[in-house]
């Protein structure tokens, strides 16, 4: 059963993945065999699977903020989820270790050109299942400077964290003010988040490894396990050694 909430809006029905399942790459992409070898270790047990749902737009309305939600709750026990973009100058977006959380993640990315975004899900047993979505884009996402750098006071508010926890659905959404610079814009060094961890009294809930293609001022959605009752601590850090921490309770 899907953990997506689209049905909470009038007219919003269940969502399913439309690419053909199987061992062939639905997009026949020149980059995918390389990415699959680099980040998944060229697994023998791999296939495109409708159980991995990836929601996203057909076209990038704003190449700096292309929203996605991936739902692998139909796959079974999940070890990690690797998100990549085929034709991005920096193809590696993030790796999510759901841990005690459920394998659902909302996030936004920058897009440089029309390309599939892929969520590769490693099951607890070792096999990989993929869901993907193709987004057409005219670029400007990865090689453009962060909007923050157009403003002289960009450091104002840097590190501000906003969040909210919805106990009835287990949703946690967190927003962090951060330039997420890729280092590809002339004269602006790479400066992006590298890690975000969720914790509670019982220890680590989930961990996220982040890379430069994640959107500026990223907003991330998690699905917490049912045994979380107390406050959740969110910790993050970036390439320059800054650390960010916040606590959210229902």
């Amino acid at each position: 059963m899907s953990a997506l909430l689209t049905q909470l809006l009038p007219g919003g029905g269940p969502v399913r993945q439309d690419a053909a399942p199987g061992k062939a790459d639905p997009w026949d992409s020149g980059m995918w065999p390389l990415h699959r070898a680099d980040w998944l270790g060229d697994p023998a047990d791999w296939r495109n699977d409708a159980a991995v749902v990836v929601l996203g737009p057909e076209a990038a309305e704003d190449a700096m903020h292309v929203p996605f939600t991936l739902d692998a709750t139909g796959v079974g026990a999940v070890e990690r989820i690797v998100v990549t973009i085929d034709y991005s100058p920096i193809p590696q977006v993030l790796t999510f270790w759901p841990g005690r959380a459920r394998p659902l993640l909302g996030f936004g990315v920058k897009y440089e050109s029309g390309s599939p975004l892929r969520a590769s899900v490693q099951r607890a047993g070792g096999g990989w299942r993929m869901g993907a979505r193709y987004v057409s884009a005219m670029g400007g996402g990865c090689t453009a400077p962060a909007a923050a750098h157009g403003q002289p006071d960009w450091q104002e508010g840097f590190g501000e964290m906003r969040a909210r926890l919805w106990p009835d659905t287990g949703r946690l959404r967190v927003w962090l003010r951060h330039p997420q610079d890729t280092g590809l814009a002339p004269g602006i060094a790479a400066h992006h988040l590298t890690e975000m961890v969720l914790e509670d009294d019982a220890g680590q809930i989930a961990r996220l490894e982040l890379h430069a293609p994640v959107e500026e001022n990223p907003a991330l959605t998690f699905l917490l396990p049912e045994d979380v009752s107390g406050p959740v601590t969110i910790r993050a850090r970036d390439t320059m050694g800054y650390r960010f921490v916040g606590e959210v309770a229902a």
Partner: protein
């Protein structure tokens, strides 16, 4: 857009601006294409070239917004000029052949489907509200990149020519025609609505849509609703929305208001319930409005454009590093 293509396009743009004074449109290069407009006289001396009820695409060549021409003794007052140089040139040809030339041009707001045909009208004043002229100049390059990407060859020879002169709002005679120019806002930061005194026709720009989904990239919902109140206080004999047919009822006013309220409520509800923007998008538009032109893609665009407004209200600051 790579930095290289950006530089190349800017170089072309400079050439284009320098060249507009001579109105040297490269018509030979685009002669194979034609919009083949049909203009209709919807009231005495009020001509409408109706746009397609759709998104910008290569089937409609970017001809999606309404263009209105008002007849005067000195030529036409042209209200909005379309998305491309070719479209501007065809509108201009109609004005020259049927209305004795062009006295002045008005741009209702800064979205490119309303002023990217301006080059064909640069020999007479091109007027707009001050913030419209500023926003058009500021965003022209980005709009140009986007339109070239979407419309391809339809854009041949098009360079952005932003309106130059701020128009004085209020009741006045423009080229001998009595108009009331109303400075409103909400669809963008400056939206010009025009009431033609002779016929009582309201030319509303994109403050009003009918049977085509409103676009919200620069929308301020509360300000827009206040502008609808201002328009609702008028008693026009007929209304020309920015997108949608001429009509003699208050249909565009009612539909635009209902759409904004329902979409505002939907996005607020989505953010308050903890949905992601991708989920809000996947749920589709408000069912009552799913049949409008340019749906569902216009709703999808709106979610991306406006999501931060709602999310900022739904989330709480938990840390201030």
């Amino acid at each position: 857009m790579t930095p290289d293509s950006n530089i190349r396009r800017r170089a072309l743009l400079k050439v284009g601006i320098a060249g507009t004074a001579s109105l040297a449109l490269p018509l030979a290069a685009v002669a194979a294409r034609s919009y083949g407009f049909e203009a209709a006289e919807v009231a005495d001396g009020v001509w409408l070239i109706a746009g397609a009820q759709d998104s910008l695409n290569r089937d409609n060549g970017g001809a999606i917004a309404n263009t209105v021409l008002l007849r005067t003794g000195q030529g036409a007052i042209v209200i909005d000029t379309g998305s491309t140089a070719l479209m501007g040139a065809e509108i201009r040809a109609f004005a020259d052949q049927r209305l004795g030339g062009v006295a002045a041009t008005l741009n209702t707001h800064h979205h490119p489907d309303h002023w990217f045909g301006n080059a064909a009208f640069a020999d007479a004043p091109i007027l707009s509200l001050g913030p419209t002229a500023q926003a058009a100049a500021l965003n022209g390059q980005g709009y140009s990149d986007a339109l070239y990407s979407i419309l391809g060859p339809w854009m041949s020879g098009t360079t952005p020519v932003p309106p130059q002169s701020p128009v004085q709002p209020g009741a006045q005679s423009l080229a001998g025609r009595a108009l009331t120019l109303m400075p409103l806002a909400g669809h963008t930061e400056a939206d010009l609505a025009i009431l033609d005194a002779d016929t009582g026709t309201l030319i509303a720009g994109d403050l009003l849509f009918l049977d085509r989904a409103p676009t919200l990239p620069d929308a301020d919902m509360a300000t827009w609703r206040a502008s609808l109140d201002s328009l609702g206080a008028l008693q026009p004999s007929g209304t020309i929305p920015g997108h949608g047919p001429f009509h003699r009822s208050s249909a565009a006013l009612a539909q635009t208001r209902a759409y904004l309220e329902a979409t505002d409520a939907r996005l607020m509800r989505a953010a308050e319930l903890g949905l992601t923007p991708a989920e809000a998008m996947a749920a589709g538009p408000v069912p009552d409005f799913a049949g409008l032109g340019a749906m569902p893609e216009e709703y999808h665009r709106s979610v991306v454009q406006r999501w931060a407004d709602y999310e900022q209200r739904a989330l709480t600051t938990i840390s201030d590093a």
